[in-house]
Symmetry: C2
Subunit: 705 residues, 2 copies
């Protein structure tokens, strides 16, 4: 982070009044007004107005404390308040744009619980695009406490439309449901599909980032920022009055968070906009995180990659090396004496083919899964010592692969599946990272499939949140980039630790080989999962009929080829995979060209048109050239997108190459029908592009002299 500009005006006043007048601030653009007050019972409350109307009606704040009748719910008085203004522009290491403005007005409300003398501060930051607030506990005698529940309310003003997945302590990999808030209860059970680890929050629990739209057409997004050493927040809907309350992920004992003052909670965020594109353009989540904590970030680089992966996901190949034993024991099982199966993908020879393909087409890196011993019984056994992260299978020569990759100027991406055994992973972490450095891997995809250990803990509880952070910070020490799968959904901490270049934490492309996802899935993800940070969504599947890869798998990918291309722009990530097999790309090399051309780092992003569940069209400018790229993902309704190119530099001429759905394309019946056209364009051009059901498009726009 380089600090570009910095204005910080502090206006402080301390009101030690016995009476508690409501405290009010507005956003810098005056669109928002926040009121903070105490109820008759001394319960802190806030209300958020946008353009004169309530967006969040009066909502209570506080905590249930374990073994404490009093808790932190009421009996508070204000002992001081302070307001200030902050305005700074910073440069992210990677991102949707090269500069981010962090501009807010702040209100600090210092509370004292009268009977107990406990101190709690509320800090509100009001941006031009919404509100962030958190709880702070200054140093005091009230030092250690256990949160039984956080009591933060978000009182909605009506029966909004929501784009939601069920709250769950262990998975986020659900298909989205679009419904009225009042319909969540009835749809909740049917919204839940099977997962390797899942603990749904009934009866009305939903996950953040939660996207909503009011009947008046206002867009509202609730999430959190800077989730550090705390449990992830879900929202429970009280649908008699449309009030959400926070519902934290419990630990094995049902406790929600262990606290030691001085400390703070994560920020709770409410992003609001008149247009859905306002939500996509918001940088509030990053702005509420701390500035970068890594001194030298020069080793952190966006990555476009291919990998030995989709063939295992589809069941064409296997991660495991042998089928001979019902189970193996690391250090005791002698693989050299076991019969290899015929399906193991991560062989030296096969990986070299991927390296050849990556080198030929200009990819940065190759991911290889299933290279290390332990995959025979890795899953579902609550096995502790499941992997050691450094011992390759007999048919994978790590040294030879390393040398071959280096000779071809391709990086290898490491894979650390933990099977949820976090103690085992932490025990091997130093060795595993040292092994990576030895063989020149500088990025690792981590995985937490299945129920976690310590047994009874959940993927999104404080214990695990602390673990992911530990891995991230240790990786930074080793100058290693992390792409964490099945970890907690991101909350903008990549601002502080930009070596977190990816997360899964949602239903990724793999589900297209597990029975499919809804065709409009990727028109919702940018409004939900991506609010907290980039997703390793692994797009780029060109063969939707999975049975062509594995006759036993009758899944169908619910998208068109043009849609897949559009995702490289719509679904921002500094880490982008071309997930399909080389043989499938070789069949459609003209379409593949877009994937080869599309950058993974940007200087500007323009959100042209968007409606959650329906469509998104996004334009971005390459960080390393003057080229622009436009992407679209379309839902189930065929549609013609209007692409206004006025973001192009005035007076310049460009050639646009348009990768679009053919007129008869359809995600189900004709997904591989696309057409590629080129057109001369300027900033005055408008493009009208047809998008099929489950379709989309990609456009590359290159300046011509």
């Amino acid at each position: 982070m380089k600090r570009l500009s910095f204005i910080w005006l502090i206006v402080v006043y301390y009101a030690f009044a016995k009476a508690c007048p409501a405290q009010t601030i507005t956003s810098p653009n005056k669109a928002f007004e926040l009121k903070v007050s105490l109820s008759q019972e001394g319960t802190p409350q806030y209300q958020l107005d946008y353009k004169g109307d309530a967006v969040v009606e009066t909502s209570s704040l506080g905590f249930e404390i374990k073994d404490d009748e009093k808790s932190l719910k009421n009996d508070f008085e204000m002992v001081g308040t302070a307001t200030s203004t902050f305005d700074e522009t910073w440069e992210p290491v990677w991102g949707e744009e090269s500069e981010i403005r962090n501009h807010y007005n702040e209100l600090e409300v210092d509370l004292k619980q009268k009977e107990t003398n406990r101190l709690m501060t509320l800090r509100f930051r009001l941006f031009d695009d919404g509100l962030g607030f958190r709880y702070e506990f200054p140093q005091q005698e009230f030092t250690y406490f256990i949160i039984k529940e956080e009591l933060t309310e978000f009182a909605m003003t009506g029966d909004h439309t929501a784009y939601w997945i069920a709250g769950d302590y262990d998975t986020q990999e659900y298909d989205y449901t679009t419904s009225k808030l009042s319909e969540i209860r009835g749809l909740h059970e049917s919204s839940i599909s099977g997962n390797a680890s899942q603990t749904p929050i009934k009866p009305t629990g939903v996950q953040t980032a939660l996207m909503m739209k009011t009947d008046d057409g206002l867009y509202i997004n609730i999430h959190e920022a800077a989730l550090i050493d705390y449990s992830a927040m879900h929202l429970m809907l009280y649908d008699e009055n449309m009030v959400f309350t926070s519902h934290l992920t419990p630990d094995v004992n049902g406790d929600k968070a262990y606290m030691q003052a001085p400390t703070t909670t994560p920020w709770r965020t409410v992003i609001v906009g008149d247009d859905a594109t306002d939500i996509l353009a918001s940088r509030m989540t990053y702005n509420l995180n701390d500035p970068v904590a890594i001194e030298d970030t020069s080793w952190i680089k966006p990555v476009k990659y291919v990998g030995v992966w989709w063939e295992m996901i589809t069941g064409k190949s296997s991660w495991s090396y042998t089928d001979e034993l019902p189970a193996i024991q690391l250090g005791k099982t002698d693989y050299s004496k076991l019969e290899p199966n015929s399906t193991h993908a991560a062989t030296t020879e096969h990986v070299k083919e991927y390296i050849d393909f990556a080198a030929k087409h200009g990819f940065d890196a190759v991911l290889v899964e299933g290279w290390n011993v332990g995959w025979e019984d890795w899953f579902g056994n609550s096995k502790d010592y499941v992997f050691d992260f450094v011992t390759p299978y007999p048919d994978f020569d790590v040294e030879e692969v390393h040398e071959y990759a280096q000779a071809n100027d391709v990086k290898m991406i490491m894979h650390h599946e933990t099977s949820g055994a976090t103690r085992n992973y932490e025990r091997h972490l130093d060795t595993a990272f040292q092994f990576m450095k030895k063989y020149d891997y500088d990025a690792v995809k981590t995985g937490y499939v299945g129920n976690v250990m310590p047994r009874g803990e959940h993927h999104y509880g404080q214990w695990l949140v602390n673990h992911y952070q530990y891995v991230l910070e240790k990786a930074a020490d080793y100058e290693i980039m992390i792409n964490a799968h099945e970890a907690v959904r991101p909350t903008g901490i990549a601002r502080t630790y930009p070596n977190l270049i990816g997360n899964e934490s949602a239903r990724g492309t793999e589900f297209q080989a597990f029975g499919g996802s809804k065709p409009n899935h990727t028109t919702i993800l940018p409004f939900t999962r991506l609010i907290g940070g980039p997703m390793d969504y692994t797009p780029g599947i060109f063969e939707m009929d999975i049975s062509k890869l594995n006759p036993l798998n009758d899944s169908h990918g619910n998208f068109t080829i043009a849609n897949q291309l559009g995702l490289y722009v719509v679904m921002y990530s500094p880490l982008q995979m071309a997930a399909d097999l080389p043989e499938n790309y070789n069949r459609f090399l003209d379409a593949f060209q877009f994937i080869k051309d599309v950058p993974v780092d940007w200087s500007k992003s323009v959100y042209l048109e968007a409606e959650p569940g329906e469509y998104i069209t996004t334009a971005r400018k390459d960080k390393n050239s003057d080229n622009w790229f436009v992407g679209n993902s379309n839902g189930t309704t065929p549609r013609t997108a209007l692409v206004d190119l006025d973001f192009l530099e005035k007076g310049k001429k460009y050639i646009a190459t348009i990768y679009a759905d053919a007129a008869d394309a359809h995600y189900k019946t004709n997904p591989q029908a696309y057409k590629i056209t080129t057109k001369k364009v300027t900033s005055k051009s408008d493009l009208k592009i047809y998008t099929a059901p489950g379709g989309g498009f990609g456009i590359s726009i290159v300046e011509v002299d």
Copy 2:
């Protein structure tokens, strides 16, 4: 371990009979007979006879398996049996004797559960001093399972006298109760005293090693050997028929052990003798463990040490550096800006005084507790990041202390209190051990005070057992010796990992400053806690009136000075502390001479007379000379011990220096009354030595020309 002799005769026969005749073996000396059979329901059973009479009546074997109606309880058939004989003599790295014979007859019974085809093997080893047996699960389709409970019975033949402490998942630090088995239920609740972490097993749970005596005068001891990756076993007494059944320590979910075949359980042991000394002389527990796993053991050395410790235990000094804050945060709290308290013990200057004292009196090492930051709020807060194990307090100069110790030819002993935060300890383990090697520490006292983390796990469950083993093995990699406090009680694994030179795992001397222990405590410990391995009991307290150290502490040590001397021989350990303050030793330098002289490693041990709860007299020969030492601990009844010196070499002349209770000595009223006499002795001599209530004696016997 050097293999001295080796005889292994295998006599195998496989009986694939439909009928299941009882299988029988005898011990090498024919004193024991073991019968193994199947009940009508196909439940495996065993019976142990000694000299023609049952010691353990017909007792069932098996398991309750989680989520499995069938479990491993019945429906078994024998599919094979095998017998063999083993006879080997091995040399321990340290111990009560320089050679140990491992001689047994073995019976293997291979079982198949008829309906499920699950395989389970029972392996019995019958020694001349008792029985060891375990369960084994060969490789099979039945691979992963969760034990809800182990169903091993030990059916007693009558209402024996037992020397017991309450079963507990988190502490062993109780005073012993002597009672009939039938009285355990009634005395159970009152046997439980407070502890920093405790989860008593009601209503009749007791701990192993459990010592018993029958009305016929037979001594029986039940324990376990080789507790690796399994939960520690307690015994629940069904007092309607005097049957003990195994009761494993649960995890947070109530599960007892996670298993993956091929695997085995620990050994269950029954040591039996006509004389109480037979129990003390048994080496069965070590023999049932694997041979040494460390190639070069030359760095493992017995240690006699003093330490900055008793002054904190008594409350004279503090571990913590400052009283200024209610809590601290490692890495955030700046100690250099805090006011030091006046009680912090581990200052450079004070530690140097201990080094001077150690050097002057020939001690090997000095332990220092409270040297590292974090002690201000280390305990009882379920704090995760409680210590980092490498950052000294501002007033402790680790470099200066290191140099001073080295110049004085004294080793420093490291201290790693974890406060039960095992994840935090494992995260810092490499760094902490590297820090130790840098400053030339080669032994560490570890501690697990308070409730453990992961929260809800217990000190003696599989998760923690695995942790202690992990630390032990990693320490071996660094050539570091471990003395683990509050860890699970030892089960002979020091044979395999002799760098485990000590454990606490029972009520140590510290309780004499916490209100006192029963005067006969140390006449029981060698029959119970010490069966599995040495204890860091920290004897050598010369000032019993604790208020003389700390006026606010009115505790009284319930022993005499002569008793304390005797413990250095009675309570075998390769790690012995002289726990009192230098100033107290300086008051009694003639008695202190025994502590200076007594060795910590032995070539022979002779158990002269013993009765649990009453007295123990033990003679041992120095491993590095021809000197002998005799020690006695006496219970509450005054007594004259008869010490028959016929273990001395025939024809040689010796001078015995006898450190005995004075005639008017008494643990309560006159504990510091001792007399030192010398006498010429030979192998024909008998010594009669008076021992006071709570008394004892120490004798050094040196050859004279």
